[in-house]
Symmetry: C2
Subunit: 108 residues, 2 copies
DNA sequence: TCAATGGTTAGCTATATGGCTAAATAGCTA
DNA sequence: TAGCTATTTAGCCATATAGCTAACCATTGA
């Protein structure tokens, strides 16, 4: 919890990974489908996906011989939105957080 | 505009820089005052500040022989909040953006 | 069991990053 | 001008990052 968001911000530092997250907003995609959207090699995309997964920003689901990746919106919203709330709370509003600390979010 | 937020996300990738931004939320600070909060050398902090400045996340103001740094909240909110709005709009709300598209923000 | 497809892991290279110390610059004050 | 404080710039070093190709699992289907 303390500094655990570091992996998230590190993951967001790369433009390809940010684009992957954006692409996943429309719905889950296979690794191959994701790779086909970029001009870089499959293995490189695979590594990007593993970084996103390690950061908790995506989840994977295996079906037959392909792997579907999907966005973990809560994770992104909580980490990044949490940071924004700490640095410029006047400009951003987090919608009620779901999950582990939903009961603490009693503020107006 | 296009991919100009890259410098912002790159700047946010480092924990020291995120902490500096957070510290600046309380008000402007001199480079020395900022440096004294960390266990790393002054020159290193100076470089972090130049990266934040290049990203447009902080502004500097010279007074006598010290330099005061201050947070540029709009920049942070627009870049990062803009990304969140694109990836997980259901979870985050951007309060009215000031500046270039303020007239489009007719919401309450 | 073999081959084909979809992905990942290994190993390599080049560049970027972040930290340090030493030296330079900026702005006072004597 | 000299000297002092505040901060940045210049080099240097070690590690991290991102890309590539080649090789290795995993799953399905003949």
């Amino acid at each position: 919890m303390t500094d655990e968001s570091a992996t998230v911000f590190r993951a967001l530092a790369d433009a390809t990974r940010r684009q992957i997250l954006q692409d996943l907003h429309a719905g889950e995609l296979t690794a191959g489908a994701i790779a086909s959207r970029f001009a870089i090699s499959g293995p490189s995309i695979s590594r990007h996906l593993s970084i996103l997964k390690a950061a908790g920003l995506v989840a994977e689901r295996r079906e037959a011989n392909r792997i579907f990746y999907s966005l973990v919106e809560d994770r992104l919203a909580n980490c990044v939105g949490g940071f924004l709330s700490a640095v410029c709370p006047e400009q951003v509003v987090l919608r009620r957080r779901r999950g582990r600390d939903s009961r603490k979010a009693g503020a107006s």
